[in-house]
Symmetry: C2
Subunit: 121 residues, 2 copies
C-alpha cells in the first residue's frame, strides 16, 4: 500500500472503493495524475517513490479494470518511451477527484471533532 | 488488509483515514462492532475471519491510538474472558459509522455513474 499518501492532505483522506475489486483508490489516482503530468512511466514511478515494475503493474490493473484503457504507452525512443492518459483516463481521474473532494467535504466538520479524540503522535 | 470488506455493502465502500496513522478504518470499525455485539474477542475474531492474535493486535492499536481505550477485556473465566466496548469505544464507532454513511451518501449518485465504466468481473 506504499505511496498512496503522497500528494494528499497530510491529516485526512478518504479512500473510495467502487467495485468488488479495488478498481481505483488514492494510490492509483496519484499514479494516473503523475503520468498525465510527466508524460512518462519512469518519471511517474519516481515521483510516487515506487519501482517502475510496481507502477507498470498498477497501470496494467487500471487498464484492465475499466471498459477502455486509461493509459497509453509508446515504447522506445531516446527517453525510453512515453506514456499518456487516454480520454477515459482523464475522465476517470477527474471523476475520482471530484468524488474524493465531495466525500471529504461531507465529513469535514465531523472529522475535526473526531480527530480531537485521537492521541497525538 | 484482509477482512475489511466483511459487513460492508458488496459494491462500494469508503475508507476514511483521519490521522497520519491509520487510527481507524473499515476493518477496525467492523472489529469494534463485532466485539460490542458478541462480548468476546474470540467470537469477534471468528466473525471477522481473522486469527485471535490479529484481532488482539488491532485492539491494542485501537486502544493506543485514542485518548482513552476503546475496548475493555476481562481475562479468564469459563468462556476464556470477555470483552466490551468502553464509552469511548461506543462513541468512536458511532461517529465513524456516521461519517462513513455521510461520505457514501455524498457520492452516491456519482458512484452509480462511475461504476458503469468499470469492467464487470
Amino acid at each position: 500500500m506504499g505511496g498512496y499518501t503522497k500528494g494528499h492532505r497530510p491529516d485526512s483522506f478518504i479512500r473510495i472503493h467502487l467495485a468488488r475489486v479495488n478498481a481505483i483508490g488514492p494510490g492509483k489516482a496519484d499514479l494516473l495524475e503523475a503520468i498525465g503530468q510527466t508524460g512518462s512511466m519512469a518519471a511517474a514511478a519516481r515521483r510516487m517513490g515506487m519501482s517502475y515494475r510496481r507502477a507498470w503493474n498498477m497501470v496494467k490493473a487500471l487498464n484492465s479494470s475499466f471498459r477502455a484503457p486509461l493509459v497509453e504507452t509508446v515504447k522506445g525512443g531516446r527517453s525510453g518511451g512515453s506514456a499518456q492518459l487516454t480520454t477515459t483516463g482523464d475522465d476517470v481521474l477527474r471523476r475520482y477527484r471530484r468524488m474524493e473532494a465531495n466525500a471529504t467535504e461531507a465529513i469535514a466538520t465531523e472529522a475535526v471533532e473526531f480527530r480531537k479524540i485521537i492521541r497525538s503522535p
